[in-house]
């Protein structure tokens, strides 16, 4: 929208910084770039690629659950010639291990923090780049050893087979499971590299948000996306080192014979596991001390993005901006003291269980506040049903389901029954796919014009949303029913139990829906790649949004802004009474005799 008037003062072109004064060649621009936008897009492409891999793994899992031990059509004979095209039980464990690993560590965390965080943080706060561009580049390139280690682990010695939680002693004793030898070591190495990458990234994001906001951009004028990213970075910085430490301990258990997670005198498959002396539960505590906050790491930025999109397309300020921030902060703070709810049936001290139960119950509160505030944002708005908005509403709808089903798990006696059943699988897929992935899709449709300077096709976007939403619910809503029936997760063939045998048809229905969901991504992929080259050109502010990133050219050049951004008001000034336009961007200077405005 070229009618947008820029305030502030245009900078002369030569004052913008190059990359260390280096000549900008292809490698420097697109590969080893230190520009946050290029790094963000690198993260985006890498993670979308891994999203595809993780999806394929999920399809294989669903195939096995719907038609156990049946020959996989087309790919089966190629992949598993020695078993006649069947998935072997060993490979099934690898499948769900890698599905979890890829989706958590290589897709959701890096796509939110790495892709959107990198791309949006400097643009939304008015910085020319990250505080430490080189560190930023390193944080992307540290993902590559992780990519390689995880990929290699799938092909070595049968692949890691201990679940993404990697519980010892199964994971610490190399003869406990086929493939838990070198493959598991590689897996742990991959985890360590992901940890290093996230740590570099999160420290950088925090410094940038604290120190590099444009003049006038006070903390309480930051868009909620940035708040989500900021709190996420804090969570990562505080929680991740614990997992890194635990990972090192498990590595040393495997490689040099320490015994942190191996009890005394343990004998597995007739072979002594070493002197031992440790506690398997210690790993669970350390692991979940990171991995529970990680759930919020996987959700908070998505919540922020949804808030931005929702305010923009409801043409309405976000309902309760500060309470939203305090809710994010509350989730983060409580997120550190609820890790034990993953361990209610693990043999944990029951008194400790009660403590964790109470804190877990309380963490539902900020989530409830956020939900109601989103509903409050829709109330009284003028809702435009663009694709990003549909995804945001879809997010809200799915997040309600995921949040409510979480209460079942929080209640310890009920958890004793539904723990490790498909109920929990349904719950976290509602949060992570229905929640985060929907927000990510919404975010891609929403910020695509900024990233590539072109619009994505709205019609095919809606087709994508419609199919994904329908098939997603078809796959995962029924999982609640399975879970209530006690159907345990991670079983390659549950149907030889009398009690689960009758659930096969339901599983087949779910698998068909899952395949549908996988195929529903084809319009997205085509739309995404074709729009990069063929989409209609987008102006600076195609959505008439108010946040700062829309003031920059699309796509922004080096240094992001061709003027000095100055911030005059809060991020969601839509439909301000008395203005001819229904949005009042952050960067527009108020008229000298403007009526008294509220910020």
């Amino acid at each position: 929208m070229s009618s947008t008037v820029h305030s502030g003062h245009a900078l002369p072109a030569d004052s913008r910084r190059g990359l260390f004064g280096r000549a900008i060649d292809f490698l420097g621009t697109y590969v080893f770039s230190v520009d946050h936008k290029v790094i963000g897009i690198q993260f985006l492409f890498s993670t979308l690629l891994w999203f595809f891999v993780g999806g394929l793994l999920a399809m294989a899992i669903r195939w096995q659950l719907a038609w156990p031990w049946a020959e996989m059509p087309l790919v089966g004979p190629l992949l598993f010639p020695h078993t006649g095209g069947q998935i072997s039980p060993e490979f099934y464990t690898v499948l769900f291990t890698m599905h979890g690993t890829v989706m958590v560590f290589l897709v959701i965390i890096p796509i939110l923090a790495g892709a959107f965080g990198n791309y949006l943080i400097p643009l939304m706060i008015g910085a020319e780049d990250m505080a430490f561009p080189t560190l930023n580049m390193l944080s992307y390139w540290f993902m590559w050893p992780a990519f390689i280690a995880f990929t290699a682990s799938m092909f070595f010695a049968g692949g890691p087979a201990t679940g993404w939680t990697s519980y010892p002693p199964l994971s610490s004793v190399s003869n406990a499971a086929p493939g838990s030898g070198f493959a598991q070591t590689l897996w742990l190495l991959g985890l360590t590299f992901v940890g290093i990458s996230s740590m570099l990234g999160s420290v950088n994001y925090m410094t940038t948000i604290l120190q590099m906001r444009a003049p006038g951009m006070t903390m309480f004028r930051l868009p909620l996306t940035i708040w989500g990213m900021f709190i996420t970075a804090i969570l990562q910085a505080f929680a991740l080192p614990v997992l890194t430490a635990a990972g090192f301990m498990q590595l040393s258990d495997r490689l040099i014979g320490t015994g942190f997670f191996i009890p005394e005198g343990l004998t597995v498959n007739g072979v002594s596991a070493g002197a031992g002396g440790g506690q398997p539960l210690l790993w669970q505590h350390l692991f979940w001390f990171y991995s529970h906050p990680a759930v919020y790491i996987m959700l908070l930025p998505a919540m922020g993005m949804v808030s931005d999109i929702m305010a923009c397309f409801a043409r309405k300020p976000i309902f309760g901006y500060k309470p939203m921030i305090f809710a994010i902060g509350g989730i983060a703070a409580l997120g550190f003291i609820v890790w034990g709810h993953h361990m209610f049936v693990s043999g944990m001290n029951p008194m400790l269980g009660t403590t964790f139960m109470l804190s877990t119950i309380m963490i539902a509160l900020p989530s409830a506040i956020k939900t109601f505030n989103w509903l409050g944002t829709l109330w009284g708005g003028r809702i435009h049903f663009t694709t990003p908005m549909l995804y945001s509403i879809g997010f809200l709808s799915m997040f309600i389901i995921g949040g409510l089903s979480g209460i079942f798990m929080a209640v310890t006696p009920v958890d004793r029954y539904i723990h490790d059943t498909y109920f929990i699988v349904a719950h976290f897929h509602y949060i992570l796919f229905g929640g985060t992935a929907f927000a990510v899709f919404g975010g891609i449709y929403y910020w695509f014009p900024k990233m590539f300077g072109r619009m994505m096709n709205d019609f095919w976007g809606k087709v994508h949303f419609f199919l994904t939403f329908v098939f997603f619910n078809g796959t995962f809503f029924t999982m609640h029913i399975l879970g209530a029936g006690g159907f345990p997760r991670r079983l390659a063939d549950p149907y030889h139990y009398e009690i689960f045998a009758h659930m096969l048809p339901l599983n087949q229905l779910m698998t068909i829906c899952a395949f549908g969901m996988f195929l529903a991504q084809i319009p997205f992929v085509l739309n995404f790649f074709l729009s990069i080259f063929l989409g209609p050109r987008a102006g600076r502010n195609p959505w008439h949004a108010t946040t700062l990133e829309w003031s920059a050219p699309s796509p922004p050049g080096h240094g992001n802004y061709d003027f000095q951004p100055i911030i005059y008001r809060g991020p969601y000034e839509y439909s301000v009474p008395g203005r001819e336009q229904d949005f009042y961007p952050q960067w527009i200077a108020p008229k000298p005799v403007a009526p008294k405005e509220s910020t």
Partner: protein, 148 residues
């Protein structure tokens, strides 16, 4: 890196004497905790209070280093924002671990008992010592014990 607003530069000129005093205090405190190593201390002070004493000394030393060497004494409010949450998190982590791992002795399994070297072991070994000494000197009839 801009450092124009760094207040410690202006204030930090004449701290050399103070740093030296802090250094001496740290050395003395180290010596203090090292006292627990000696025989006379061990025999007179209960282990628990000795440990408490050592940890107290460590905390004092740590605060001295943080406050003066790391200049937090002269910094403004941001120091609390950065340090208190991490200390809080660290404490929570430790507290969360204590009931399950630290007190695991209270819920000890027989399996573990069978394999673990448990506290009585040292006593048993000591009791068996005379026998062992005899064996060492070759006076004990080995053949008698050997056919089990």
């Amino acid at each position: 890196m801009e450092s124009s607003s760094d207040q410690t530069v202006e204030k930090g000129h004449d701290h050399s004497n103070l740093f030296f005093v802090v250094f001496l205090a740290l050395c003395l405190l180290t010596l203090g905790s090292f006292l627990t190593y000696f025989e006379f201390w061990n025999t007179r002070v209960p282990t628990a209070s000795s440990r408490l004493f050592m940890m107290a000394i460590a905390v004092v030393k740590a605060s001295l280093v943080i406050l003066f060497f790391m200049h937090l004494h002269w910094e403004v409010a941001w120091k609390y924002v950065l340090t208190i949450p991490s200390l809080l998190m660290a404490t929570i982590l430790l507290l969360g671990l204590v009931p399950d791992i630290g007190y695991r002795m209270l819920d000890y399994s027989t399996e573990r008992e069978r394999f673990a070297a448990h506290p009585q072991e040292a006593e048993e070994i000591r009791e068996a010592a005379p026998e062992a000494a005899l064996m060492r000197e070759g006076k004990l009839n080995i053949e008698e014990n050997s056919d089990s």
